[in-house]
């Protein structure tokens, strides 16, 4: 079968997934957890082969680190599945219950999206997380992992899918695609696939968006800002800026730009510069910044760059409005933070900065589904529609309007014989 045909079969069968009960879906998750533990030697062996090939091919160290899937990572995903089992059912939630008239009841209820395609990087733990999230939310999943993890993914997928089937999940509730060329075919499946979630570089996500009619929930760059306001606590500021920049640089929620209110720059920048240098961070400042501390010059381009590295661009601003305008113009609407002891300034910042996460006095690195208590995430959306920010179970659901009547017709209302009374219950 071609991928298009497989996706069409999956689409038809997605109703079977939609009617599974919470007990059945949790049962499948339990089976998957046990299956992974029972087949761990097989999985570790496949992963060692992937690792060896990657090393031979000279793959960079950070990618190798993500690729590795041994005892420690297995324990993490197993704990993750247990957490997910403990979360409440995302399906069938009544979001609205309204009597339109005495015998006409409207209920808005959450339900699965249907068929979701996820394209993710070479991280075998992502395969487990995404498949588990899709099962818990009653969705069918088409999974494409990074090719460096091919053997590991294949082994993990076999274990997961078999465990799911044994636990009573419907046939075709998930399938894996492996070749990069398969992605092209997947992009054409707009009649069967309801949502694509591409993870990876910004240019990759853009490419996907431009080459498919399927709805895409992508995360573009993370150009996150910290704005140090006029009234701040110096120690708190330095602490938060350091963590935002250096706790883990290769991720979208790391800070790339620091904006500093001109009135506090003279006090903050020398101390901060010292702390950043001690952590090996290269500072690139505007002219005004260079007048206060010795650093590289920042160009206009720096402010649109996601370094993902130990580099930070720094600029002074006249006031909070200039900071907000800068962030909305140069930022990627991901996560931005204000450091201030002035509650009113914080409110203004949080209302006016047009980002998925707006933070007050805490590190941008908190932007993450796990840290928000979502159990896990399939990605972080920088779009504004549907899900915004970390996307967990709720982002994998949609809703439908159920209307319960007893032979009710619109003509009665249009011709004045009856009237709606709209009573939320």
């Amino acid at each position: 079968m071609t991928i298009k045909e497989q996706a069409a079969v999956m689409k038809l069968n997605s109703t079977k997934m939609a009617v599974t009960t919470l007990e059945e879906r949790n049962g499948a998750l339990t089976a998957i957890r046990e299956g992974l533990l029972a087949h761990k030697d097989e999985i570790f062996k496949a992963n060692k082969e992937d690792m060896e090939r990657a090393q031979e091919e000279g793959i960079a160290a950070p990618i190798l680190k993500r690729l590795k899937f041994q005892e420690e990572k297995l324990n993490e995903v197993v704990t993750g599945i247990s957490d997910l089992i403990g979360l409440p059912d995302p399906l069938g939630k009544e979001q609205l219950k309204r009597e339109l008239d005495t015998d006409l009841l409207l209920v808005r209820k959450s339900c699965p999206i249907g068929v979701i395609g996820v394209i993710f990087e070479a991280r075998p733990d992502a395969m487990v997380q995404i498949a588990s999230l899709c099962i818990k939310s009653g969705n069918c999943a088409i999974l494409k992992g990074g090719s460096e993890a091919m053997k590991t993914n294949k082994t993990i997928f076999k274990v997961i899918y078999q465990a799911a089937l044994d636990a009573g999940m419907p046939e075709n509730c998930m399938f894996q695609i492996e070749a990069r060329s398969d992605i092209t075919e997947l992009l054409e499946c707009h009649e069967s696939v309801d949502l694509l979630i591409p993870r990876g570089s910004n240019s990759f996500v853009q490419y996907i968006m431009e080459h498919t009619k399927i709805a895409v929930m992508g995360h573009a760059d993370g150009i996150c800002h910290v704005y140090a306001d006029r009234t701040l606590d110096l120690d708190k500021a330095i602490r938060v800026i350091l963590d935002s920049k250096t706790q883990y640089t290769a991720v979208c929620n790391a800070a790339e730009t620091l904006l500093v209110h001109k009135d506090i720059a003279g006090e903050l920048l020398p101390k901060l510069n010292e702390a950043l240098c001690a952590k090996g961070v290269e500072v690139r400042g505007t002219k005004e910044v260079q007048e206060i501390v010795t650093c590289e010059a920042a160009s206009e381009e720096d402010f649109s760059t996601e370094y993902l590295d130990l580099i930070i661009s720094v600029k002074t601003v006249e006031n909070i409005w200039e900071a907000i305008e800068h962030i909305n113009k140069y930022g990627s609407h991901h996560t931005d933070c204000i450091i201030t002891e002035d509650g009113e300034a914080a409110q203004t910042f949080m209302k006016c900065v047009d980002s998925a996460g707006v933070y007050h006095n805490c590190s941008t690195r908190f932007a993450d589904g796990y840290r928000y208590g979502f159990g896990a995430e399939v990605g972080i959306s920088t779009g504004k529609l549907h899900a915004r920010g970390p996307v967990g179970l709720e982002g994998l659901c949609t809703y439908k309007y159920e209307l319960f009547g007893n032979g009710n017709i619109v003509a009665d209302y249009a011709e004045g014989r009856k009237q709606f009374h709209f009573k939320d219950i």
Copy 2:
């Protein structure tokens, strides 16, 4: 200024719209209502000119009817604005409030989407409704109405915008585009426009989707079904089918296809056929249907056709599963209804039919923002992401995550010095 430049200015100013209070936004709506009443002669005069030109150009009667904006329509929109003023604030709603740790509070709060472009048909009342919904939800709006209503729209827009400014709404909170060629320019404004809502024919909506990088919330066709199940009340069935098909045929929530369980077909179809004929409806049936009643033959194509006319395609099915499969395959995921006295069958239908509206024993014509008590709607979405079904104020909002800390850093959690406790409050 080009449209791109205008949109960019609007985008920058959209933060001013985001910080308006409910009182300010309701004040603007009140001013708009009064402005429309005060300038009604001017508006009616412009509308008469549009009507005369349309008549000279031989525009079809249903379009002329929609184009007309005189005393009656004015009263309707004025009542609509009053209703909208009475609705609660869609902004700043706390959708989630969770303590991640003792001094780290996460709040998910509703906020405006930002800049919304709406392209709508030649109905001057739509201009008022859409502009009012955008103001109430704190969004900036780019409005393009059907060219047949050009003079009316221009007059109405002038009144609305001036009233909004006088009441303290920010400059550039809305602008109008008039030429069809302006749409092409609007489609390129992905850096400034957050959402496009095209209303109109299916092919028009498709065209928009394929020619822009902006997120589109479109409503495609409405191929709505009624499924007459084995156990039903005959009178109720005929009543609902007649209303679904004939109460207003030229709209997306009118029924186009009737599916009938084979066991009830012999009893239902003769009576129903008589009732449909009396209303002037042409029945197109499959072979099995033609064996029971005299009617035209239905082709495969009929089941994918939105007639928007007094025609209905009819097919018998073996069981509820065949009905569900047919609807999910041929339907447009808009609104579909089951007629049955069997509660379990209704539950199955509602869970398995993949549509925005799934109805039990009531007319498909109820699928409408006004009838759901949303005040008004900007459209009916047949997509599954973000808003599904009738889109009112809530569909014009997104949310952001606000995180309040006190110098909190991720390193403390990553290195085990602190632990999240996730407490919803």
